[in-house]
């Protein structure tokens, strides 16, 4: 019916008789004639839209309703980024790409998500740190998502993020405590922390990790989660090797400037928004949303809020043995390493 209506309309147009509608009194004729028209900014390139414009177009297509289209746009962006020669600026700056792309962490389609991870990994690592707080929020939203696939996927994103901008992630506002809570919820260790006596009897788990799939795959998922937690705790609690070296060299550096101490503290800060921890412009933060920039702070909060639950869960995992046990052992090692110096202080 629709097409016939259209045909009718077209036919009517063909046979239209009479005059055009009279122009209103205040109508201004803007037609003009010219021998030639010269545009001041005319591109000389033959392939009409520039790469930048095409990238912008594809960025806008990320909202498209078809997941194939979204995936293809992501793929286009990825190739565009990877093909830019090192040193040359990206077709679109990362500050434009990242906000447009990060929502797709929560995308329902699997293909889109995997492609998204590729794109993220293709981005220059130095630019991520400035956008880490938004990315962490999205990753956390993914980790609490109803769908288990998205939950698992966001662990990938988190691991990538920890690799690229680990320090910013753990010291960002809410990045430590909320993330820990998130992990506890994900692993199902929260319940155990609260209600010890409920040992093996699990009542009415609905969408928790354990409800899905075969026990084998479930264990796999849990291994992934524990690995991610290990990476997270390692970043938050342990002194990075690089940094330790840096400290040593710093001491030597300071010794070389002997009478001047702590020069770097009086220089201009090297990162943007250096006073973020003062929270001058935002709403007041509670303990959970607070920034824990210091390693010791993080250790303290970890001890207060999560260590018990993590240890209990870890012990169970180690007992389970196999893949899970290995992951548990890794976690235990990281925990010991991270909390080694802190435990001594507490005792003292």
């Amino acid at each position: 019916m629709g097409s016939s209506a259209r045909k009718k309309k077209e036919k009517k147009k063909d046979f239209q008789v009479g005059k055009t509608k009279a122009k209103p009194v205040n109508f201004t004729d803007t037609n003009f004639r010219a021998k030639s028209i010269v545009l001041t900014q005319q591109s000389l390139s033959a392939n009409a839209p520039t790469l930048a414009a095409q990238c912008a177009h594809h960025l806008s297509l990320l909202n498209h309703k078809s997941d194939t289209q979204r995936r293809e746009s992501l793929a286009y962006l990825t190739t565009a980024i990877t093909t830019t020669p090192p040193g040359a600026p990206l077709p679109q700056p990362a500050s434009v790409i990242l906000p447009a792309v990060q929502r797709l962490i929560l995308d329902g389609s699997n293909g889109v998500r995997t492609q998204l991870l590729k794109l993220l990994q293709a981005l220059p690592e130095a630019e991520i740190a400035a956008h880490s707080d938004q990315l962490v929020l999205h990753a956390r939203a993914g980790m609490t998502h109803l769908a288990s696939e998205i939950r698992t996927f966001s662990l990938d994103v988190l691991e990538w993020l920890l690799r690229v901008a680990g320090d910013e992630v753990v010291s960002g506002p809410g990045g430590w405590v909320k993330m820990l809570h998130c992990f506890l919820g994900l692993l199902g260790w929260q319940q155990q922390q609260k209600q010890e006596p409920r040992s093996g009897l699990e009542i009415g788990k609905w969408s928790a990790t354990k409800a899905f799939g075969k026990p084998g795959s479930e264990a796999k998922v849990q291994v992934r989660q524990m690995q991610a937690l290990t990476a997270f705790l390692k970043t938050g609690l342990c002194v990075p090797v690089k940094k330790a070296e840096e400290l040593r060299t710093k001491d030597q550096y300071a010794a070389s400037f002997f009478p001047l101490w702590q020069t770097e503290n009086h220089l201009l800060p090297q990162r943007s928004y250096a006073f973020a921890h003062l929270n001058l412009f935002g709403t007041a933060r509670d303990e959970e949303a607070e920034m824990y920039e210091d390693r010791e702070d993080r250790q303290r909060v970890f001890r207060e809020r999560a260590e018990k639950a993590v240890t209990a869960g870890m012990e169970q995992a180690v007992k389970a043995g196999g893949e899970l046990g290995r992951a548990g052992a890794m976690l235990r090692r990281v925990l010991r390493e991270g909390m080694a110096d802190f435990g001594g202080e507490m005792a003292a």
Partner: protein, 752 residues
């Protein structure tokens, strides 16, 4: 752009709706799942707060769904969601201007839901919603908020009046009006108050006070809102009450029961039937319940004199007020209504009218109506006299159009009915002469004036115009000139009839008992006690069942009469002669000379010493009706009409214009329409009407009717067996045929 339908959650296997269902069924088991969703909500909220203006579909949609989910489960997990209401309130108050529309509506809805689940209290909700209602620029949000606020106020007042909440909200509204008198925001206070007044939720003086402040504001919309409330709010309330009482009242229980017997029985049907029965019962109870005593807004005003004065000086007299004529007229209407109703004295008001009383003034009849309305018997006549004079000069002349003259005469009549002293004899005699005019409207108006003055001030008329009653009255001295400020003593019409009737009854009874027709005071008192016994109209059986009443029996009955003796009952026979000699004497005189003067004396006694029972009042009404039948003279009618006129009722421009319409020639169409009236056009036979009525009542048809209406395909089978009938059957059929032919058809004409 067409809105894209996004469902981040659509594509995955889990959905919030079923989780919500499970959470509500078994909160403790699903606490962990809820905690996860709560975490998700928190992250989404944080994401959203970083950029509240976002139009990113999926994020907003997820947040909306999560808010909905959490709101529905909030009462199951009070510890986890302790922060939730505050977060919503904050989100709404800070970002209501830029929020996505659906999300905004969802937040409002969730807050209301939380209120309904008693997670937050009404005052929190209203204190959140009201400031947004006042400030927001979005029309749809305003509409939503307004309806939500109203429904919440109604809901919290259903079980009993929530005085505390009402008081807080009333204070908020009052402060809104008084804080900034020029802002148009006050209109919301007016709207809310009016709506709640209409629904009889707010019926107290505080609500009236709010409207008073509204009418004293500076903004035109607010003023008109307030004034309209005073002029029409009570009528609206009455109408609403009527509507609610007779709306959807037609539940036919008999029909429902019948249907329940026929149709398949199910639990649902049973429940419906029960529900209907409950509704009917409730309605019945409501019908029998005493009518709630509601004072009108005008009567609840705290300081009517001050209000009227400020209203008048602020909006009418003040040359700076920029109200258009229409609004000004409404204000004037209110002022004059107040003056007339409360008999206030606002002297400046009358001189203010002076400049508007010309026929060329726009909507002058409204001004005339206002003037009449503002007149009462305590207005000094010398203030009114120039006004009456001016109306007479400007409107009532041979040169003026007949409608104008009629309107002027009618206005004068209305004024003088309220204050007869405003007229002097020369002017009156002049005006009365117009009854010889050619125009019917003018004639009627002038006659109205004449008949008015025959009652209230016949001595101003010429002798031949006074009429029989008034002339006799003046010569005998019964009609006296009323002075300014003179008031009638309180009187109840027909009271003397009641007294007479009671006296007669008493005498009859005493004669029946064999006692002397005279009676003592104590016995009179006893009678009163007996009156109390048959309190209700139904129990008033003294006429036909005298034998049943035992006069001596109840010593401990209620005794509310004002007599002084407090002695025990047994001693009453001994003090027949001593205690109240006066009263006795009076009684004697009354019985001896049935004179009008004595009757007049006894009326105040009856008024002051007894409390009328409903039975008494019913009898009084009956006697009055009988009396009216007796005196069906036109003069009596006129007097009754005058007595029945309530001078504190409103007068409209239409009532001033009414006599002018009498003289108007109607067109043919109008005449035909009038003659037809509201009779129905469609003709229907009586049988058809009866049948329709029967069908509407849900009654079944007769067997004959059923047979006639039966589908003929069903009858075919029977017709086939025609050949196999027995001889008896054939004979019966043939006889029937002959009989039908004689009768003239199957149903025949029985009357023939």
């Amino acid at each position: 752009m067409v809105k894209r339908k996004v469902g981040a959650l659509e594509k995955v296997e889990a959905d919030l709706a079923s989780l919500q269902y499970r959470c509500r069924r078994d909160p403790s088991s699903y606490q962990e799942d809820f905690q996860n969703q709560w975490n998700q909500y928190e992250t989404y909220r944080e994401l959203f707060l970083t950029n509240p203006t976002t139009t990113d579909d999926s994020g907003v949609v997820s947040l909306r769904e999560l808010i909905d989910f959490v709101a529905h489960c909030a009462d199951c997990f009070p510890t986890i969601t302790a922060q939730f209401p505050d977060q919503l309130i904050q989100l709404l108050t800070l970002h209501h201007e830029e929020l996505d529309m659906e999300l905004r509506d969802k937040i409002v809805g969730s807050l209301v839901l939380l209120r309904n689940k008693d997670v937050i209290d009404s005052s929190t909700l209203l204190n959140t919603l009201f400031p947004i209602l006042v400030t927001t620029s979005s029309k749809s949000l305003r509409q939503l908020l307004f309806s939500k606020i109203l429904s919440d106020l109604r809901a919290s007042n259903t079980k009993g009046t929530n005085h505390r909440l009402n008081r807080t909200i009333q204070t908020v509204l009052y402060n809104l009006l008084t804080s900034d008198r020029e802002s148009p925001k006050g209109i919301w206070a007016v709207k809310i108050t009016r709506e709640l007044w209409k629904r009889q939720i707010w019926t107290d003086a505080k609500a009236v006070e709010i409207m008073k402040e509204a009418s004293l504001s500076e903004n035109e919309k607010v003023i008109v809102g307030g004034v309209r409330f005073f002029l029409g709010g009570d009528k609206e309330r009455e109408e609403a009450a009527e509507d609610s009482s007779d709306g959807e009242s037609d539940i036919d229980m008999a029909k429902l029961r019948h249907q329940a017997g026929i149709n398949k029985k199910s639990k649902k049907k049973g429940r419906e039937l029960k529900k209907a029965a409950a509704t009917v019962k409730k309605k019945e109870r409501k019908k029998n319940a005493p009518h709630p005593l509601n004072f009108s807004a005008l009567h609840l005003l705290h300081d009517p004199q001050g209000f009227a004065e400020t209203l008048f000086s602020k909006h009418c007299q003040n040359s700076k007020s920029k109200l258009p004529l229409e609004s000004k007229l409404q204000v004037l209407n209110l002022v004059s209504r107040l003056v007339g109703l409360h008999k206030l004295t606002v002297i400046a008001l009358y001189s203010y009218f002076l400049k508007f009383l010309t026929p060329r003034q726009a909507s002058v009849t409204s001004f005339l109506a206002c003037l009449a309305q503002a007149t009462h018997n305590l207005v000094p006549p010398d203030v009114l006299e120039p006004l009456v004079q001016k109306i007479a000069n400007e409107f009532v002349s041979e040169a003026a159009a007949s409608e104008v003259a009629a309107a002027g005469l009618n206005a004068i009549r209305e004024i003088c009915a309220r204050q007869p002293l405003a007229m002097n004899d020369t002017l009156l005699q002049d005006l009365v002469m117009y009854r010889k005019s050619k125009d019917k409207g003018v004639v009627m108006a002038a006659r109205g004036l004449l008949s008015l003055y025959r009652e209230v001030g016949a001595d101003l008329l010429k002798k031949r115009d006074r009429g029989k009653d008034a002339a006799i009255g003046i010569t005998t001295g019964t009609i006296k000139e009323r002075r300014f400020g003179e008031e009638d003593a309180g009187d109840l019409q027909g009271l003397e009839l009641l007294a007479q009737w009671k006296e007669e009854e008493r005498r009859k009874k005493r004669e029946a008992m064999g006692l002397p027709a005279e009676l003592g005071t104590d016995e009179e008192e006893e009678d009163e006690a007996e009156d109390w016994k048959n309190w209700d109209v139904e129990s008033d059986s003294s006429d036909d069942s005298e034998g049943w009443i035992n006069v001596e029996s109840d010593g401990e009955d209620i005794n509310i009469s004002d007599s002084e003796d407090e002695k025990p009952r047994p001693a009453k026979k001994t003090k027949l002669d001593t205690a109240e000699g006066d009263a006795e004497k009076e009684n004697k005189s009354k019985s001896e000379e049935p004179d009008s003067a004595a009757a007049a004396k006894s009326i105040p006694k009856l008024l002051t010493t007894t409390i009328m029972t409903p039975a008494d009042l019913a009898k009084l009404r009956e006697l009055q009706a009988a009396q009216q039948l007796k005196s069906n003279m036109p003069s009596a009618k006129r007097r009754a009409a005058l007595a029945n006129a309530h001078y504190d009722d409103a007068i409209t421009a239409e009532s001033i214009e009414a006599p002018a319409l009498l003289g108007k020639k109607k067109t043919k169409e109008e005449k035909i329409a009038m003659a037809k009236g509201d009779r129905e056009e469609h003709h229907q036979s009586t049988t058809a009407k009866r049948k329709e009525k029967k069908a509407a009542e849900g009654k079944s048809t007769t067997n004959k009717e059923k047979a006639r209406k039966k589908n003929f395909l069903m009858t075919l089978g029977k017709a086939k067996g025609k050949q196999k009938r027995s001889l008896v059957d054939v004979r019966r059929t043939l006889k029937g045929h002959i009989d039908r032919q004689k009768r003239g058809g199957k149903r025949g004409n029985a009357g023939r």
